[in-house]
């Protein structure tokens, strides 16, 4: 018979809690995931999806209503930095003229550490329909290479 160990018990409890919390967040989808308001969202802004095609990494960031002039995308080695500003509406609107005010505004900056080295000269960014797509070609050494297997 196994000896009673309080740490194993604790570990088990922790895992069960984790599972419960996990289940909860999944159930509240999509609302848990679609907070695209800077400032109000309790997470980093903008939220990103990352796609790795082997030769390049593509990042799609959810950022509606940005001022394209204020957008700054820069890459240093394997770190990507996105900075910009979501502008207020016209500044001359009186606060009492608002019936509803749900959209948040403000400046933001986010740095993302990428899993590989990036060829910084070939990075391109495109902003359409409120989605910022950044294409980051990998450095030559970081690309996957096919190695032929010889059979004798």
């Amino acid at each position: 018979m196994a000896e009673w160990n309080p740490w194993t018990q604790l570990e088990q409890m922790r895992r069960e809690l984790d599972r419960a919390i996990d289940g909860f967040t999944r159930r509240t989808e999509p609302f848990a995931r679609v907070a695209f308001l800077p400032g109000r969202a309790a997470r980093q802004y903008p939220m990103i999806n990352l796609h790795d095609s082997g030769d390049a990494i593509k990042i799609e960031a959810l950022a509606p209503g940005l001022d394209p002039e204020s957008l700054e995308v820069s890459v240093v080695r394997n770190t990507l930095r996105i900075a910009g500003e979501k502008r207020r509406l016209m500044a001359d609107i009186q606060p009492e003229a608002f019936h509803r005010r749900e959209r948040a505004t403000g400046k933001f900056v986010r740095t993302i550490e990428l899993p590989t080295e990036i060829d910084a000269n070939k990075v391109s960014a495109d902003y359409t329909n409120g989605l910022l797509v950044i294409t980051l070609p990998k450095e030559e050494q970081a690309r996957p290479k096919q190695i032929a297997v010889k059979v004798e």
Partner: protein, 132 residues
């Protein structure tokens, strides 16, 4: 303006029933700003990922409906994922003060701006005071 909460748009329900096996589509309520100008009401909504073709705005029976299909710009499977794009749907009830035939819409950088001009009767009017 009064917001009407409708869980699933009626037209969508009809579409879904013809397909039978498909589950109802998911929608989110896009965040909006509504403010009043002397001659109009302005509604701005964040609708990221919705292109002009996929956005439908209609006024029917005094109800303004914003409905859009959101699409990812990168359609390949994500390695790392923080969000999912969900279609948008929101309805507002209009009062008589809005001239429904003159509503204009503009979509820019994922932000929809609707201008709802006020009807002639609802516009502010200056009444000159005569001194006799």
């Amino acid at each position: 303006m009064v917001e009407r909460t409708v869980a699933v748009p009626e037209s969508q329900q009809l579409e879904a029933s013809t397909e039978g096996t498909r589950t109802q589509e998911r929608y989110i309520t896009p965040p909006v700003d509504i403010y009043e100008m002397p001659e109009s009401l302005v509604v701005t909504a964040d609708v990221p990922g919705v292109s002009q073709e996929d956005l439908e705005i209609r006024v029917d029976n005094n109800v303004l409906t914003i409905q859009g299909r959101a699409k990812h710009a990168v359609t390949d499977e994500s390695t790392y994922r923080e969000y999912e794009l969900v279609n948008v749907f929101r309805q507002f009830e209009l009062t008589d003060t809005v001239d429904q035939s003159k509503i204009s819409a503009d979509l820019k950088h994922g932000v929809l701006t609707l201008v709802l001009p006020k009807a002639e009767a609802a516009k502010p009017r200056q009444i000159p005071v005569r001194v006799s």
